[in-house]
């Protein structure tokens, strides 16, 4: 066994221990420990990815001294590696970009607690990605929920506390369903490790036994994880949660946490329940319908919303709908599209939340999106970042959103019954996306009328700059820091990479899914 094969385990443990270490450090040191942990785990995940691509196969890693059907296992393959690398990069940039705001929003004495939560979040996400054991997955789902709740409530304002309790309640409903689903599955199969459980499920299906319990298990596990990832009818905690947390927390929660649960659901479909059984049970059709509903209703809510951050949050509802629609298509191509959109959404939504920070800095921290008028001139880089993110979500060519829409449309062609609804919903949802995202982008580049009339110089931009300086007291930040700029530029590059070099990534996703089976 080569050293690289130990890396998944090392990265989970490293992230967890850096959290424990941070509890005795002060805020700054905890932040640096956390950043170092993220970088190291990402590098290790990249090594795992490289190893799996090179050898062309996945491997399992025995935890402790008990072999397969009894002990605990970690499994790493191409898809796991890819997801872990992308999550690591997005998390690093989100932490770096929101660093100054974290320092401002969180009390001095509680700074290290925020980074403990970040470390725990990282470790639980990695564990959800790599684990091969269902009960371990449950435990890390709960750790993820607690860390997520900590990230929301650390900003001690009324709205974030009340949204934290709502988040906990919805998450507990989801975890409860997931737990009873696992218990039933353990009853029926007698296994908690994914690979032996899959064999047992196959034997049960072949014998035609336990039809109703298997259906209940599939339904309960899917609904549980769908509640936790915020699929449409269970979405009402999303806007408050993402809208009132600190920017880093919003980016991490919308970009990564919900994706971790979706990844787990796909893993369970492929590695435990068996894709054919899930399709035969019609569960995918239910997910498909709710996905379509989410795509449309999320966008409609976003159009009605006036607060920029809540608008971006409602757009998350729509994008989660896209992902579930891809899963609901039930084909391999649909699943690839869903996974690619998962990557796209992680990168783009984090970009939007982080560049919105840059725009708020120069406009005073007001809720209404009209207060952002002209901010694209006052903070050019954040304006560009926001425009790129918006265009990517709308599906502009060259950016990653375009590729995922293309993948959804082409995969829909392969399933004749679902082709028409998918394509129609894609078209309508794209138009709705364009309505609110372009409205935001146009607002960013509109000179406020009052200033337009009052100004005397010829250069409009000059005037806006002067006006911005005049109202400089409204914002606590003189200019966006170098860290924020670095994060925005890197996120834009990440989007371009996903958009322009999509083919190898898509091939590897397909490859990874084949390894799942």
């Amino acid at each position: 066994m080569s050293l690289v094969q130990n890396f998944p385990f090392f990265s989970i443990i490293l992230a967890m221990f850096s959290g424990i270490l941070s509890s005795v450090l002060d805020g700054k040191k905890a932040r640096n420990v956390s950043l170092a942990a993220i970088v190291m785990t990402t590098v290790m995940s990249a090594a795992v990815l490289h190893f799996c691509v090179r050898t062309g196969q996945s491997y399992t890693y025995m935890m402790g001294h008990f072999p397969a059907p009894w002990g605990n296992e970690i499994r790493a393959g191409v898809l796991e590696g890819q997801t872990a690398v992308l999550f690591g990069v997005v998390m690093f940039l989100a932490v770096v970009g929101g660093m100054d705001h974290t320092a401002m929003d969180v009390e001095e004495s509680k700074q290290n607690l925020f980074y403990i939560m970040i470390d725990l979040m990282l470790s639980s996400l990695l564990a959800l990605i790599y684990t091969n054991d269902l009960f371990t997955a449950y435990v890390f789902v709960e750790i993820n929920t607690i860390a997520g709740c900590g990230l929301i409530m650390i900003r001690q304002i009324g709205r974030s506390l009340s949204s934290a309790i709502r988040y906990m309640i919805m998450s507990q409903l989801g975890s409860g369903l997931f737990l009873i689903g696992l218990s039933l599955l353990y009853d029926v199969t007698g296994h908690l490790l994914m690979s032996p459980a899959k064999e047992a499920v196959a034997a049960i299906e072949a014998a035609g036994l336990y039809e109703v319990p298997m259906l209940v298990i599939m339904a309960v596990v899917s609904v549980g994880l769908a509640i936790k990832s915020g699929l449409y009818p269970f979405h009402y905690w999303i806007p408050d949660t993402y809208g009132y947390a600190t920017p880093t927390a919003s980016a991490v929660l919308s970009g990564l946490v919900s994706k971790g649960y979706i990844f787990l659901l796909i893993k369970i479909f492929y590695r435990v329940l068996g894709r054919e059984n899930v399709i035969a049970s019609q569960i995918v059709n239910v997910l498909f319908v709710f996905g379509l509903a989410g795509m449309l209703m999320g966008s409609v809510h976003a159009i009605l919303e006036r607060d920029t951050r809540r608008m971006i949050a409602y757009s998350s509802v729509a994008q989660i709908g896209y992902i579930y629609m891809g899963i609901g298509l039930g084909t391999q191509a649909g699943m690839v599209a869903a996974l690619f959109h998962m990557f796209t959404h992680s990168a783009t939504k984090a970009l939007l939340f982080i560049s919105a920070v840059g725009l708020y800095e120069v406009s005073g921290d007001r809720k209404d999106f009209r207060s952002l008028q002209g901010s694209g001139y006052r903070n050019p880089l954040a304006g560009i970042g926001f425009a790129v993110g918006s265009l990517s979500m709308v599906g502009f060519p060259m950016l990653s959103g375009f590729i995922s829409k293309l993948l959804f449309a082409t995969s829909a062609l392969q399933s004749p019954h679902k082709m028409l609804p998918t394509v129609i919903a894609l078209a309508i949802s794209t138009i709705l996306n364009a309505v609110y995202f372009l409205r935001l982008v146009i607002t960013l580049y509109t000179i406020p009328e009052a200033e337009n009339a009052a100004g005397k110089g010829n250069d409009k931009r000059q005037r806006v700059f002067v006006a911005a300086k005049g109202q400089g007291e409204a914002s606590a930040f003189p200019a966006s820091s170098r860290k924020l700029r670095l994060a925005i530029v890197s996120f834009i590059l990440l989007n371009l990479v996903l958009g322009l070099c999509s083919q190898p990534i898509v091939n590897q996703i397909g490859n990874g899914l084949t390894m799942f089976e």
Partner: protein, 125 residues
């Protein structure tokens, strides 16, 4: 009297309890009762697991009198799962209670609807 629901009485009871807890957590407006509901829900799952792991006429899986034979003991895995689950539910309960205290200190109410309404008003003010 031989219907499956009656034969598997313990499982039936635990699923009914799960349903009661789930509904309480979802629909009740009082935060403390929501937390009680969450605990009922989790405990119902533990009851289910414990019942499923028990085999009539066998002993607790602790080797005491030198009996090494596997068939003398019940299945130890569900008990392990229950222990892990209890740890998890204790920590989530603690977190939710802490949040409830914070909200009660701030808004003087345990009613979730009222808390959400006051939080919105507070923001507008």
């Amino acid at each position: 009297m031989n219907t499956p629901l009656f034969v598997n009485m313990e499982e039936t009871v635990s699923i009914i309890l799960f349903g009661i807890g789930f509904t309480m957590l979802m629909l009740h407006r009082n935060l403390i009762k929501k937390i009680l509901g969450m605990n009922i829900m989790d405990t119902a799952v533990y009851l289910f697991l414990a019942v499923k792991g028990y085999i009539r006429g066998r002993m607790v899986p602790i080797v005491a009198d030198g009996i090494q034979d596997v068939s003398a003991y019940i299945n130890p895995v569900p008990s392990g799962l229950v222990l892990t689950g209890i740890v998890v539910s204790v920590s989530t309960t603690a977190l939710m209670l802490a949040l409830t205290i914070r909200l009660y200190e701030r808004y003087g109410s345990l009613d979730l609807d009222e808390i959400l309404m006051r939080a919105k008003e507070e923001e507008r003010a």
